[in-house]
């Protein structure tokens, strides 16, 4: 079991607010790791720091053995770290299929000359990627909506499409920011199955989640943040009984 992502002493403040304070944890390759914590605990900030959307004030991130602190988002994507967003970020006016095709950007070639000449190679590549992406859409149950504008999908399907798009980028580490937010129980169950399935195909998953049921059923490891600091880390069962976690979520019980 090797470490794919290693976060070491990551720190970020916004003005006087310490959003993330010296947070360290490891994401084991091939495992599903959940990042949990009350609202405002700094979970999304950690995501933004690791994926290159924010620059850390201190600390390091190592991905696949290399120091990647301060790398741009697209460089992280090229290395195989692909994320989704808490507020779904689809290309709403593009079709469902086109959204996933954009996901394959890193694994396709060709600029202006390819666009204008449309050589057999270019056409063949597009046909191949389209076939792959339609399969991907089928996995999340969206194949029938392939030619509809992404913005016309119901919210739950938009979340699934965003994940399918991320998968089209063929990540090594898939980072999902609250993938179950706004989903109904059936959709959440389906999402859980999808996460487990992609892991079984060799993908590593790190996800932020408030739905504890989902966390407890799919996560191999849980990291808990509160007020920007890591307060616990361990297997789901340990976390459920961890006194500091209970305190963070439920408040301190007044001594009688």
């Amino acid at each position: 079991m090797s470490t794919l992502l290693s976060v070491d002493g990551l720190t970020k403040s916004f003005g006087g607010l310490h959003a993330v304070r010296a947070v360290s944890f490891d994401v084991v390759e091939g495992a599903i790791t959940a990042l949990i914590g009350p609202n405002g605990a700094g979970k999304t900030t950690v995501f933004n720091l690791v994926s290159g959307f924010l620059r850390a004030d201190g600390g390091h991130a190592r991905f696949a053995g290399e120091d990647v602190t301060g790398r741009a988002p697209r460089e992280m994507a090229a290395r195989g770290l692909v994320r989704t967003f808490q507020r779904v970020q689809l290309f709403v006016e593009m079709t469902v299929l086109d959204n996933v095709l954009v996901g394959a950007h890193l694994h396709t070639r060709g600029g202006l000359p390819a666009a204008l000449l449309r050589t057999p190679t270019t056409r063949a590549e597009r046909a191949r990627v389209t076939a792959e992406d339609l399969k991907l859409l089928d996995r999340v149950g969206l194949a029938e909506r392939a030619s509809d504008p992404a913005g016309t999908l119901p919210f739950g399907q938009q979340r699934l499409l965003e994940i399918a798009r991320a998968l089209a980028a063929r990540p090594r580490l898939l980072m999902l920011d609250e993938p179950a937010a706004g989903l109904n129980p059936a959709e959440t169950a389906r999402l859980g199955e999808l996460i487990v399935r992609v892991r079984s195909e060799g993908l590593t998953v790190l996800f932020i989640e408030h739905d504890m049921n989902l966390v407890m059923t799919v996560a191999d490891r849980v990291v808990v943040l509160d007020f920007g600091e890591k307060i616990a880390e361990g297997a789901p069962r340990e976390i459920q009984r961890h006194p500091r976690v209970l305190e963070a979520y439920l408040g301190v019980e007044e001594p009688a």
Binding site: S51, F53, A72, P73, R74, A77, A78, V82, R83, T84, F85, Q89, L90, F91, V92, E93, M94, T95, L97, D98, L101, V102, G103, H105, L106, T108, R109, G110, G111, L112, A114, A115, L116, R118, T122, R123, R126, A127, T130, S147, D148, P149, R165, A166, A169
Partner: protein, 310 residues
Amino acid sequence: MTSRIVMAAAVVAWLALLRFANDYVLTVLVLSGIYAIIAVGLNIFTGYTGQISFGHNAFAAIGGYASAILTTDRGWPPLVALVAGAGLAVATAALVGYPTLRLRGHYLAMGTLALGLISYVLSVQLEGLTRGFTGISGIPPLGVGSLVMTTPRGYFVAVWLLVAVATGSAWLIVHSRLGLALRAIRGGEDAARALGIDVTRYKIQALAISAAYASVAGSLFGHFVSYISPEAFGLYMVVLLFTMLFVGGIGTTAGPVVGAIVIGSLPEVLSGFKDYRELIYAAVLIVILLFAPRGVLGLFARRRPARAAA
């Protein structure tokens, strides 16, 4: 299917005009066609990539002045001068795009507006090169070898073939991997970045591509009118271009062309109204934008956007 019918209808209309229209009508349509080429290019940058440029007159001016100066003072063949102008416009776009395309929204609008203003001032002030307000006259007609355009009919053929090439190439770009990246940037820069798209590089590329269209159109304008001056490439051009995009349908394949025809010919159609012309012109624009907020083409567009071609 619908697009085939539209294309066939366009070809029929083109042939009919070529056969029956008089020089006055053809002249109006040549100028509309020249504007259509700029609008098609601007549509790639604004309609599909979602970036604002209020400085596209600068690229048309580069093409116009390059052609005028190189074919009169230097005696270059028109086609070579046209290509040279386009090269210069692309280089300028890349150079200007590098710092300004880091800006977003209003800042990009202001930055490009400055570009348009600077190009106007330069075309007035660099008298040694541009002859200032006097302008450059005696620009030779467009031609390749012994084939020289001397009539509006000749220009009508050449310009509208180029409009077809411009529209076709823009369609190819939009439906390619490059076009997917550009549309993704319009859809959301953060999501595009997260998927590995080099947003700044693609924006610069989109600006450079659209600059090439504008420059070619600027060159055509110079040859057709045989005279250019700073006024031909002022900010009013930008106002016209955006009106064309919005009236025709921004972010659609044929929208810029339809908009250019409508805006280019409307003042002529309304000329019978004399003093009330401007009033009716404005009223027609308002009615179009009220009832077709997505442009004339938006009225006919299917609910879903164009599917990616295999």
